[in-house]
């Protein structure tokens, strides 16, 4: 698409944004895979439409505030990237654009407060635990809470599992085949600390030494994907220094974190951390990809009663990282039947903090996903992202299935197959 974007004016990410706009040919192949186009049925809420709007803002023809709504509606799921025949790097464009626009747009006070609250709690396990407990205590008063706070309360689980910090290292069992560093995750540690433990155990059992660097915190992906570039860089800088260089891979077990860390080079484009960012990004692998490439040292024992597992493609695995086959192969190795629900490319509505910021759309997508999952008749739902797991758990009960399938992280399914702890 022709454009008149003055890249000089836009800083180090200007070229990338202009390049993304230029590579879009407006063919519309992205429309049917875009969750917001599916539910809103408006061109402005499609990837192609948003590219036009971003172009207009970058050209100075529209203001960032004018187009804020459709831009904010984007889940950042990147299904459009998978569907795009022209290779438009939409993910890079919207991330960079959001950072750019954040400085040029006005947000209402309530929205600002909500973003601050989310930023200050969700990514810090200690604070998040306190805030969540507080929220759970006051849930009965939810209808008196400000509108912006209500969806946050609604998303809290019935109870929080006990805190269970990961050990500094999981020793490899048998011959050591590899050594990796694990990103422990922030919200995940509060909502479901077992995922980290399962990751460590399954890797260790397969001859992998897993170190859990002590100085790590949030990787910054949530901030990066919502336009808070400065905050994201601060967190990413800490991650860059926390992770050692002498490991075979840096393992993530949350899709959003993995894809975010692989985007570090763009975040630090033109800055002095760029080289370090590239080095780290090149070593980041989702646990499923790493384990699939390494190969299981020994397959888990066959199950007594094979179950049906519906594998849900987390957007930041499937679309952002192109990871689809590896988790399915691992799940199949457990001896269970693995099926794919209808509309596998459509986001479940979790999308980072989307279900807090756009609760109605998120709920519509969550219900749609739950219905598709129930329709598979699966006993169990597996996915590789904590956000998806929470969202799916929230929406399955209302999907009117005969029974509600259990929802687990892919690595937890393997961990169980191996006999667990």
């Amino acid at each position: 698409m022709q454009h008149e974007i003055d890249t000089e004016r836009l800083g180090p990410q200007g070229e990338a944004m202009a390049g993304a706009v230029a590579s879009c040919v407006h063919c519309g192949f992205c429309l049917p895979t875009c969750p917001t186009y599916l539910v809103m049925e408006e061109e402005e809420n499609s990837p192609r439409g948003r590219i036009v709007l971003m172009k207009e803002v970058l050209e100075g023809k529209l203001s960032a505030t004018e187009v804020a709504d459709p831009i904010d509606n984007c889940l950042g799921c990147q299904a459009c990237v998978s569907a795009c025949p022209s290779g438009v790097p939409y993910g890079d464009l919207i991330t960079a654009y959001r950072a750019h626009a954040e400085e040029h747009r006005e947000r209402p006070a309530g929205e600002r407060a909500q973003r601050t609250l989310v930023g200050a709690t969700l990514t810090r396990p200690h604070r998040f635990r306190i805030a969540a407990r507080l929220g759970m205590l006051t849930r009965g008063l939810a209808r008196f809470a400000p509108a912006r706070l209500r969806p946050m309360l609604g998303l809290l689980p019935e109870s929080l599992p006990a805190a269970r910090p990961l050990p500094p290292v999981f020793e490899a069992q048998g011959r050591r085949r590899a050594r990796v560093a694990l990103l422990a995750g922030c919200a995940q540690q509060v909502l479901d600390p077992e995922i980290g433990w399962a990751t460590g155990r399954v890797l260790a059992r397969n001859g992998v030494e897993v170190v859990v660097p002590a100085d790590q915190g949030c990787c910054g992906s949530l901030d990066m994907h919502t336009g808070r570039a400065r905050q994201a860089r601060r967190l990413a800088r800490r991650t860059l220094t926390a992770f050692p260089g002498d490991v075979d891979a840096v393992i993530t077990n949350a899709a959003g974190c993995g894809s975010g860390m692989r985007e570090y080079p763009l975040l630090f484009a033109g800055q002095r951390e760029e080289a370090a960012a590239e080095a780290l990004a090149a070593r980041v692998l989702d646990v499923s990809v790493f384990l699939d490439q390494l190969g299981l040292a020994e397959p888990p024992p066959a199950p007594e009663r094979p179950a049906r597992i519906a594998y849900h493609d987390a957007c930041h695995l499937a679309h952002a990282q192109g990871v689809r086959a590896a988790p399915r192969r691992l799940l199949a190795a457990t001896g269970h039947e693995v099926v794919t629900p209808a509309e596998p490319e459509i986001c479940c509505g979790s999308a980072g903090t989307y279900n807090i910021e756009r609760p109605e759309t998120a709920a519509e997508l969550g219900a749609r996903k739950a219905a598709n999952l129930i329709a598979t008749g699966a006993d169990l739902v597996a996915a590789g992202n904590i956000g998806c797991l929470s969202q799916i758990r929230t929406h399955l009960p209302a999907a009117n299935g005969d029974r509600i399938p259990e929802v687990l992280h892919t690595i937890q399914v393997l961990d169980r197959a191996y006999g667990g702890a």
Binding site: E42, L53, E56
Partner: protein
């Protein structure tokens, strides 16, 4: 200000979240998939119901504000570009499949349903919707209808027009009409046929009835690598020459291969040219054809051949091909997708010329094309930031279109004229042809409200230099017979005389003048103008007996797949087309409407005009050839026709079985329809006698005949050779109709056979059902009132037409030509020189 008033009135009815007027909400609608054009409308209204669309059109008409209908906005010719000062009516929310009837093989859908959704829904019933534009995952049925969209599989299945059975349409002034009957067999003038492909100029389709086909039992895809485009092109010609009819034949050159590999990585070999051939159909038939195809390919100089029937592998091959346009974005910042057609045999010449032009302009051209039907898609790569590059690219694109016209092809095979090629329409068609299109537009939409500015070029003058060309050259222009014909029509117009064309007079009910009407004898205009066997097309003058055509085709192993009735009786080509008659053998490849690709005819103003062309795929201008099919000589005097022809089966077998009762026979027809068999003809003689004809390569038929027997559930009798041929000759020559009976045909659907029987049998009519029940032949006793048959057909909700017997009003039953038909007739024949459809009523 009309627009201001309109917007104010819309504000009262439509909520702000569906009535978009702010710049930030309009910007995403400024372009479709041709971003070279952009225009900002005054408003976009997202309609949510049929009634809202009607309301919007009526309001626009009342205020004189132009409107553009938009589905997914994927037109590659700028067809859904908004008009400045007008509004966009968004149809994408009208995306429900209203009804899917597997027994009748139809889907009734709203215009905003995406193409691929139809096949997804139909797959549960073992059916699919055949037209498959590359954008099928997103483009909508409404848009497909407006642009008569094609796709890679047109070679065997045809375009959108061949798969639309009915549509409810709101005309540009808000008038509602129903076009088409829902039957595969049209009756009377094909109003629906001319609506399809009218690029939104004739109004908006509100509901569309689509024909679904049984999913092919087997599909094989062959990928062959060649050292040159020419070698790949030769393989295409050799395949056709071998009498194989693949469902698709696609060629990609090295640039296009590279683009696809950069994008979706289909795993194509890195070679100068790649040929994709796909076969589909009944398992045994595909197996037989595949063996023959392998033999052809193995002698064609291919450097690598892969073949697969695995659905995932096939999907990957097609994903690469279908993504190729957009994938070129990986190779070049800007590009133009061109779409033109040449006769298949001139493909090599065209490609060589394009290569030369590409070098002359210093621009790379990637070629992806539907080789099977000569539909080229040169992709012109350029960098818009380079000074002058845009102009050079457009100049090259223009030269390529001129090349297509010069080779006897078309300026668009499937993308339409839209904004992009308006000026080229004037080079492909001569001034009288264009003027006629303008008159049709004016008759239907005098204020030019619907999709203003598309397809038809701006009238010359106003500083615009007309690019007018001579149209496709024809020897007919100076032919004294044609001159005399034009003169006769002009004289009749002057003297207020009504004319009724006549060929051989084999359908006297249609060609015998009544009262002061005068016969216009066209039988002298006879002879084959062009028949190039490799082209699979034939052009002949109107008075040529179809038997003569059949003989000429037979010598080349080809045939007229619509099986023209009354051929032995002397029926002429023009007569068959004007009567719209197809025979029992129309099952496999469609009727006469599906075969006619071009026409030249004399209009009610005495001018010789052309519509369509001589290439099998052509989306330029209104589809006048369709309109003339079934026109009964009342819309103009046909002079010349171009047809699609096909390789004839080498052998035929017919299974005849008596099921004993109508119920048993209908059940057998249902089983037959879902058995995945490729059938040439299926006739029912009530109550229970069914004849099923199959054809194919020598020696391949016995197992297939066995499957027909199994589906019928009755051992029946197998006919071969002359006995077999005689059965169908008798059917097609109406030999079964008793003397003194007048024969009519009616358009039905399989589900209405029982109702038809209940009414026709007691009336003493002799019946025969062809095309599995879509076509009903009725021999009506000479002593019974013709109006009784009219009443019967009305009760059935079916339309019909008299063929033999005394001269009378030709049309029968429920035929809602309505306002649309009246306006088209006004455009073609303003002074009503040709006889009327309704003389007695």
């Amino acid at each position: 200000m009309a627009v201001t008033e309109l917007l104010a009135s819309l504000g009262d009815r439509y909520p702000a979240d569906r009535l978009l007027t702010e710049p930030s909400r309009l910007a995403p609608y400024e372009s479709d998939a041709l971003t070279a054009f952009r225009a900002r409308p005054e408003a976009v209204v997202l309609a949510e119901s049929r009634d809202e669309v009607i309301d919007l059109v009526r309001r626009c008409h009342a205020e004189g504000v132009p409107f553009v209908a938009r589905g997914s906005g994927t037109s590659l010719s700028g067809g859904s570009l908004p008009v400045e000062g007008g509004i966009v009516i968004g149809l994408n929310r009208l995306n429900r499949i209203r009804r899917l009837d597997p027994a009748e093989g139809i889907a009734v859908v709203e215009p905003g349903v995406m193409n691929a959704q139809v096949s997804v829904a139909a797959a549960a019933h073992g059916l699919f919707y055949a037209p498959d534009p590359s954008s099928q995952s997103v483009c909508t049925i409404g848009g497909n209808l407006a642009f008569n969209s094609g796709g890679a599989h047109c070679l065997k299945y045809g375009m959108t027009s061949n798969h639309v059975l009915a549509a409810e349409v709101v005309l540009p002034d808000g008038e509602l009409v129903r076009l088409g009957s829902g039957s595969a067999e049209p009756v009377g003038p094909d109003w629906l046929g001319v609506f399809v492909g009218s690029e939104g100029l004739f109004g908006i389709a509100l509901e569309v009835t689509l024909r679904l086909l049984p999913l092919p039992e087997d599909t094989r895809t062959v990928l062959a690598a060649y050292p040159s485009l020419e070698a790949a092109g030769d393989a295409v010609a050799a395949t056709i020459a071998a009498g194989i009819l693949p469902v698709a034949m696609e060629i990609m050159d090295s640039l296009a291969i590279r683009a696809a590999e950069s994008s979706v990585r289909p795993g194509y070999p890195d070679v100068p040219a790649l040929l994709i051939v796909e076969l589909d159909g009944e398992r045994d038939a595909v197996e037989a054809d595949f063996g023959r195809l392998e033999a052809v390919i193995s002698h064609s100089g291919a450097t690598e051949v892969r073949s697969t029937s695995d659905p995932d592998e096939r999907a990957m091959i097609w994903k690469g091909r279908k993504s190729a346009f957009s994938a070129v974005g990986w190779l070049s910042p800007d590009y133009i997708v061109q779409d033109g057609c040449v006769p298949r045999t001139r493909l090599g010449e065209a490609l060589a010329a394009i290569e030369r032009m590409s070098a002359e302009h210093g621009l790379r051209v990637a070629n992806v094309f539907h080789a099977g039907d000569g539909n080229l898609h040169p992709l012109i790569l350029f960098d818009g930031r380079e000074p002058g590059a845009v102009d050079r690219a457009h100049a090259l694109a223009g030269e390529i279109l001129d090349l297509c016209i010069g080779l006897g092809g078309s300026i668009t095979g499937e993308h339409g004229v839209g904004m992009e090629k308006r000026e080229f329409l004037e080079r492909m068609f001569a001034p009288p042809d264009i003027d006629l299109m303008r008159r049709l537009r004016a008759a239907i939409d005098p204020d030019e409200l619907a999709n203003r500015g598309k397809m038809l070029p701006e009238p010359a003058g106003d500083g615009r230099s007309a690019r007018r060309g001579p149209g496709t050259p024809t020897a007919l222009a100076g032919d004294p017979r044609v001159t005399a014909l034009s003169e006769a029509v002009r004289a009749a117009r002057r003297d207020g005389i009504r004319m009724l064309p006549r060929g051989a007079g084999t359908k006297p009910a249609l060609s015998t003048p009544i009262g002061d009407e005068r016969s216009l004898d066209l039988s002298e205009l006879r002879g084959i103008v062009q028949h190039d066997p490799e082209e699979l097309t034939l052009t002949a003058l109107t008075g040529t007996p179809v038997a003569e055509l059949a003989d000429a085709l037979g010598e080349q192993g080809q045939y007229l797949p619509f099986d023209p009735p009354l051929a032995a009786a002397g029926a002429t080509l023009g007569g068959v087309v004007a009567a719209g008659t197809s025979g029992p053998g129309r099952v496999r490849h469609g009727g006469v409407r599906d075969a006619v690709i071009g026409v030249r005819f004399v209009t009610g103003t005495g001018e010789l005009v052309a519509g369509g062309g001589r290439v099998v795929k052509n989306a330029a201008g209104f589809d006048l050839p369709k309109l003339l099919v079934g026109s009964l000589g009342r819309l103009g005097a046909i002079v010349e026709l171009s047809l699609k022809v096909l390789p004839a089966p080498a052998e035929w077998v017919t299974v005849v079985a008596d099921l004993g009762s109508l119920d048993a026979a209908l059940a057998a027809l249902t089983r037959l329809a879902s058995a995945g068999l490729d059938l040439e003809a299926v006739d029912l003689e009530p109550p229970g006698r069914i004849s099923v004809r199959i054809g194919g390569p020598a020696g391949t038929l016995p197992p297939r005949a066995q499957r027909v027997v199994a589906a019928l559930g009755e051992s029946g009798e197998r006919l071969l050779g002359s006995d077999e041929a005689a059965l169908w000759t008798g059917a097609r020559e109406l030999a079964w109709a008793p003397a003194g009976f007048a024969v009519a045909k009616a358009a039905l659907t399989p589900g209405r056979i029982a109702a038809a029987e209940a009414l026709l049998e007691p009336a003493g009519a002799v019946r025969r059902y062809s095309a599995a029940g879509h076509l009903c032949w009725i021999a009506w006793p000479g002593d019974r009132s013709p109006s009784a048959l009219d009443a019967v057909l009305r009760e059935l909700g079916a339309g019909g037409v008299w063929l033999t017997g005394p001269a009378r009003d030709p049309l029968l039953g429920s035929l809602e030509a309505g306002e649309f038909g009246a306006r088209v007739r006004r455009g073609l024949d303003p002074d009503r020189v040709f006889a009327s459809y309704e003389r007695e009523r």
